[in-house]
């Protein structure tokens, strides 16, 4: 049962990496869009694309933590003790990001919009970096039960390279999705704009991976030895191939499919990491079965997840279905400011 919950946890992590990651990437491109005039059109597309879904996408992170503390309490406590600072910084980033994005839309004045936009965009860069650094620290075996917070846990070579790669992956996902969005909105110039950025972020990811290989060889021996053989290696190669396919699809403007391949490549790499770590949650100090919570709770956690899939699944399907049919659109000022029929005195 613990194994099943661990897999659910990995699926939720992958869902957050893809759904939330795309939004972080959109924020990254918002940051890089240049001045108010030059960046106007990309920013407008980013706003449009993120609006209806970013809140739901953020909920995956909350699930992840709940599954961590309900399913594997010692794992949760160890990660949050050892990784105190990056997680604290990540949560500050989440506040700035959500607040900035939510408040930018209803604000009118340019100066204020700039401040909110900057808060949103900068924290879209920092938050995934810190979350990635936490994963790097875990993967390189720096987190163990009883370890207290230290700078080494997250400011080590593996953490930094993982943090940078996380930024790269979000930028890649964001650019691919925005390319497809630009296509939907029939903005060919923006298709080219974001397509170029998708290729650039993919190239950056390749460079980072090449730098990362020798570094992790020394710094994260356990993970390195696992990920260079067997199933994990296969998954990594599959991920790389699918990423290459994405680049080709973008080149051929087959924009219907490129988001699926982009998501698949990220999921495959995360799956490779998960499989490589087996049977450890924290290599090499805490296994899945050691960290597992009470059996009865785990059974119920799976049941609750099942019920939730039945409940949330259809509503998510309705959301995306309505979205595909162009039925979802933000309330414009003209809707809330339209005149009401003659005001009768009460």
């Amino acid at each position: 049962m613990a194994e099943a919950v661990a897999w659910i946890m990995l699926v939720v992590l992958a869902a957050y990496a893809c759904a939330g990651g795309t939004d972080y990437g959109a924020g990254f491109w918002d940051l890089c869009a240049g001045g108010a005039e030059r960046g106007e059109r990309p920013r407008r597309l980013i706003d449009h694309a993120m609006e209806p879904v970013w809140e739901a996408n953020n909920v995956w992170l909350i699930f992840l933590m709940i599954i961590m503390w309900t399913g594997f309490p010692p794992f949760f406590a160890a990660v949050f003790s050892a990784m105190w600072l990056p997680l604290a910084l990540a949560v500050l980033g989440l506040v700035l990001r959500g607040g900035g994005f939510a408040l930018r839309k209803p604000t009118r004045r340019l100066a204020q919009r700039r401040v909110y936009g900057a808060a949103f965009a900068v924290s879209s860069l920092l938050t995934p970096f810190f979350l990635g650094a936490v994963i790097g620290g875990i993967a390189s075996g720096r987190v163990a039960p009883g370890v207290t917070a230290s700078a080494d846990a997250w400011s080590n070579p593996t953490s930094i390279i993982t943090g940078l790669m996380t930024i790269g992956a979000t930028a890649y996902l964001g650019a691919v999705f925005l390319t497809a969005d630009a296509h939907r909105y029939q903005a060919p110039d923006l298709v080219d704009y974001f397509r170029l950025r998708a290729w650039c972020s993919l190239a950056a990811l390749v460079v980072l991976a090449l730098i990362g290989l020798p570094i992790t060889h020394h710094d994260a021996r356990f993970l390195w030895s696992r990920i260079t053989t067997g199933a994990p290696l296969g998954l990594v190669i599959a991920g790389a191939v699918v990423a290459l396919v994405t680049a080709l699809l973008l080149a051929r403007r087959a924009l219907r499919w490129c988001r699926y391949t982009a998501v698949a490549s990220v999921v495959l790499v995360i799956a490779a990491w998960g499989v490589a770590q087996r049977p450890y949650l924290l290599p090499t100090s805490l296994t899945v079965s050691q960290a597992a919570g009470a059996h009865h709770t785990l059974v119920w956690l799976v049941i609750v997840t099942g019920i939730a899939v039945v409940l949330v699944g259809p509503s998510l399907a309705v959301l995306y279905w309505l979205d595909t049919r162009g039925k979802l659109e933000a309330l414009a000022d003209s809707d809330t400011e339209q005149e009401v029929p003659p005001a009768e005195p009460a």
């Binding site: 407008r44 604290a88 939907r184 609750v304 049919r325 979802l328 309330l331 009768e344």
Partner: protein, 491 residues
Amino acid sequence: MHSALNLLAQTPPQTLPARQLMAYTLASHILLVPMGVALPFITLLAHYRGLRRDDAVALQLARRWSAVMAVQFAIGIVTGTVLTFEFGLLWPGMMGRWGDVFGLGFGVEAWAFFLEAVLIAIYLYGWRRLDPKVHFWLAVPLPFAALMGAFGIIAANSWMNTPQGFTLDAQGKPVHVTVQQAVFTPMFGPEYWHFVVAMFLTAGYVVAGVYAVGWLRGRRDRYHRLGFTIPFTVAAILSPVQLVVGDAIARAVFHRQPTKFAAMEIVWNTNTHVPEYIFGRLNAGGTISGGLRIPQLDSVLAGFKPSTQVTGLTATPEADRPTPTEATLIHWTFDIMVLLGTALLLLALWYAVVWLRKRDLPQSRWFFRCAGVAGAASLICVECGWITTEVGRQPWIVYQNMRVAQAVTSTRADSVWTMLGVILALYVVLFAAFITVLRKMHHRWRIADEGLARNRPVHPPEIVTPYGPREEAGMATGPSRPAAQDGDPHG
């Protein structure tokens, strides 16, 4: 108990900032919760009326309330995420030991919350293009999802108050976890209903208060009348319900958490014929200064007769009970909550009597003045009730099983103090910006309603902003939001 005393003596220095940070972030978040839980319901009432009677004013109210909901829900997500992180950043000791015993409630809450986020997205973005009936019915599950989310959170909190559903092994670790028992703890029922009613009541009074102020300023049109009547009626119906439910939870605390009850009522020694103090201060030696003393009343309230025995604070060892200062604090918060709640009930009765006799709103300006501050009063009640339940459990984080000091993070105190400072500043800015945005929306709508919109000067560089969508010269998209590919998370 000896080892517990040792632990108490070694309360780590980061406990204080951790408690302050948790208190501050929760106190901020809880102000948004009534709106998150109940604003969809109130909006749907107006929406229903609008559709049913073809009432353009009611529809306009529903549209504007959903515009407010959009911003408020986003801020609530942000402050809620902070709280989720704080379970790990501040209390890893509690989650590491008890996470699998009481965490399932959070699991239910998270999925309910996901459902809410999805449905709210459909509702907020469905106004323009969905068939009106379909749009309304897709939002109908929203209040139920909100109730489900509250279920999860209250299950976790009531477990901390009356933990059960496990046995301790030789090392003091919980084993033999029974989930049903851990979710449905003795305090769950009373806490849940008290909380849910409080949320709907508070949201009702807060929304009605906005229109009460407009009414006082002479804007006595049908828009303000309806905007006042719908939420105020919800709150007025729930006010007497809350009296009954609140009385029930006080008695549940008396039976299930006698030490907390003793602190709430500043009862020092266990006794019968215990007097009730309205306010007053509990001194270190057990004497009480100030306050209004009503003989016998506490015993009568707790058990319906003066001979009811009420457990005093001294029945619990000093290290295991709230300090006299904490007891005084929650005695005050409890009394403030009860007094304000009673005042709100009187206001609701005023409304009901006038309505039954004249089928109209009260004419008195004083009624609308009171209604204008009723929202603030009910928010104060929410804060007070929450302080009462949390401080009344001290020094325990899991009642009689884990002290706050045992749960706290091992991170150094100055790190936690720094984080407290940063979050403090960030929240001040966030809430100030939130209020500013709401006020601006309010201002724009008022100008539109007064027909001034057409005369409003247009400042091109300010209106045509570089961020966000613009309708006309957009991305050559035409009027509709074009199709996304199916099944993608980023449509």
